[in-house]
Symmetry: C2
Subunit: 504 residues, 2 copies
Amino acid sequence: MRIVILVFVTFFFGQLKAQPAIKIFENYLSAHGPQIVSDYVTLLSIPNVANDLVNINRNADYLVNQLNQRGVETQLLTIDGVPPIVYGYLPGKNAKRTIALYVHYDGQPVDKTRWAHDPWDPKLYDKAMVDGGQPIPFPVSGTLIDPENRIYARSTGDDKAPIISILAALDAIKEQGLTLTSNFVFFFEGQEEAGSPQLRTYLEKYSTLLDQVDLWMFCDGPVHQSRRPQLVFGVRGVTGFEVTVYGSNRSLHSGHYGNWAPVPGQMISTLIASMKDANGNVIIKGFYDDVAPLSTYEIEAMANIPQIDVELRRELGLNDTEGTESLYERLLYPSLTIKGLSSGNVGAQAANVIPDIATAAIGVRLVKGNDPEKMVDLVERHIESQGYHIVRNDPDQATRLAYPKIAKITREEGYPAARTSMTNPFAQQVVARVKDVAGQDLILLPTLGGSLPLYLFTDVLKKPAIVVPIANHDNNQHAANENIRIENLWYGVKLMGAIMTMNP
Amino acid sequence: MRIVILVFVTFFFGQLKAQPAIKIFENYLSAHGPQIVSDYVTLLSIPNVANDLVNINRNADYLVNQLNQRGVETQLLTIDGVPPIVYGYLPGKNAKRTIALYVHYDGQPVDKTRWAHDPWDPKLYDKAMVDGGQPIPFPVSGTLIDPENRIYARSTGDDKAPIISILAALDAIKEQGLTLTSNFVFFFEGQEEAGSPQLRTYLEKYSTLLDQVDLWMFCDGPVHQSRRPQLVFGVRGVTGFEVTVYGSNRSLHSGHYGNWAPVPGQMISTLIASMKDANGNVIIKGFYDDVAPLSTYEIEAMANIPQIDVELRRELGLNDTEGTESLYERLLYPSLTIKGLSSGNVGAQAANVIPDIATAAIGVRLVKGNDPEKMVDLVERHIESQGYHIVRNDPDQATRLAYPKIAKITREEGYPAARTSMTNPFAQQVVARVKDVAGQDLILLPTLGGSLPLYLFTDVLKKPAIVVPIANHDNNQHAANENIRIENLWYGVKLMGAIMTMNP
């Protein structure tokens, strides 16, 4: 009898070790789709701008509760006065490796006037608004959901989708009696859209919780514009600054002083115009000097990425784009973007004044080789070369009288770009398993255009880190009417289920 | 007895004909200052943006009532859906001339975030805010008011001050038993800050009420920057437009698309920069071609105006100004001013996006010789010369795909400049009487930098028209924290009293 039992046990373990087919998760989605959407609506209804600490903490408490309900050992990692990190740990069965899943639960600030509805009152649409989509009721239990439906709300795509995917995948694994084949660390940040200023401090303060991690998976960003799934091995860095230029110490009547008083809107325009040539290339001295070249392996991977410029231009209504190269080639260089521009008022609020100031919010994306501070230094040298005296605070009267052109520069916290080698063994295991979900459609991208604080893991913790995007590329990330396509949400659940059950 | 009586009557008439000394009005102000301020606060408390018809009508009704109480025969001149004109007529004693007093009771739109308090909740300050002024209680009856005190509220300076001056002057004349020596037409407009689009129609519709007018006095604008009183014989015209340029048909993530997608903030900056040279001179082809030269008389008057550039630059905190000429020389040319500039958001609302559009509100001031429509035509030709396809509505997808650069132009209603000859006999009578109030300080200015629809009277009705300013030059007209200096309010009352009682 003992032998028989042993054989049975061996057989049983053998069964456990075989990766479950993705079909199991697809069936789970067919059965439980409306419940997952309903749970997602609850999560999306909690406002989540990083500087709104009351609501940020409501998000964190909710997530702790959700993880606890699924048997995850959780704790809130905290630093006074900033959003907490929701940390969770779930051991696998005899697992020999530890995978950390990074997600951020905060979202970009909103300009409600540009949204079709309240950004934290999620609505279901039958398809994308820009394709004429109309609001429809949320599905009731037992119905199938059209995968082209979209949920509209802040952070649907960036970046609560991986969270609901993780929670649903854990539910599916439990219901189906599947085995968790790795130890999992859940690491949900609440300050990413504010530039993750405390992430390094968090990692240092709680390093003992993170030492065992073998591979960081950054669940953020959109899939490929072709809608094909992708894994990404690097990100651009990001920094930025605001520049304010000054006219008179008060707004002036445009009649009584127009043609004599300096016009800040004219000044900032001339300054901004001096930063790029007619092709959209930055002409600030040294701006492209530190760009690190790609390796042969990465150049090869680049060649296998589908070119989408023609389709993308059509979709975005663009006759032309900056530069002469393709999107992917342009993303290999740093960028300089006017994110915001403000002086006086336009539209119904416009008044016949010469405003006293003009301000531009300028974003800079960085590639491997760029140092964030040095890049802004270059911009400041350029601004000085245009005749400006640079200040850090609003100028007093003496300073105003001393200099014909004054620019106040306020720098953002930034961070550098990062890249992980595509040949890392843990990364290779993930690539193989994700192909079970994505098939040969899977794109391997050396770097994403967007930014994540990946360098803290690759360059500071010295661990491999790959980016695992879920959201549709047209999710209006960072803008009004952000959304997630249901098909992409389902991809997220399948992906998480697959990773959690991949071969040990 | 008859002879004696005749002599007495002649003597009495002789007394009536002698202009009362200004001292009479000064004494009246000493006795009734707090009541006048209190009445002014009531008037200023009624919101008065031209497109807010409910409150505009409250202003008009209040003014009708105030004029009626002073024996003025009033009526509301109306055109459906636009602010009414408050019209009043008060005959003088055996008067041989009719003077019309034009004032506007509407005010510029407000940006409440830039005000120290609600713009329609007037506050008294001990001196100008920019000089460290502090709020103080309104004076009680029987006290003297420091003439350096200031009332802060929308339209304190532009343009309700002449209204309260007229009402107080009528009260003073009644209390002191003085004689009204001209017939007076009161003509209070409610749409001036919206560009007076219906003023011409009003003048045509109600022309029979206005035919008898010999001289229009436009009570608007500030006194000279030196604080010296002035009479002004012309104004600049005004027009303007908004220009919107387009990037993608939606805002884009600045990471995923930055360095490839067109940046509207960059585009509008380059476009604006192309309109002026480094000296602030407009380089749009033909912009200065139609400027009419000054007459010898006007050039002479110009030479007698005190130069205030050095003092004004110090006051405004300006190291330098546009061009190389003095303020008064610069005001003789048309101007082009960026009144508003907007793309995405700056400050706490800034997001890491490439905004979909950028908009500039551009004001153009005109001088004698400039045609408003032709001037904007020149700007449009310039915009086309920078590679833009001009549209009148937001472009559809086909238009977007057809043109690399698209600019939507929305024109404002504008009107031309105007000038009255300084040698007109009615104007000369007024000049002589105003010198009783202002002494030799009185400045005679050929043209004001600001705009009024004076052309309708000089060029359409063919009547002389002069501008009679009351407000302090630093009244923050059109901007936040608009104010009136009490000294200037008292000047207004004395001025109105003097004009109403000047030699027949």
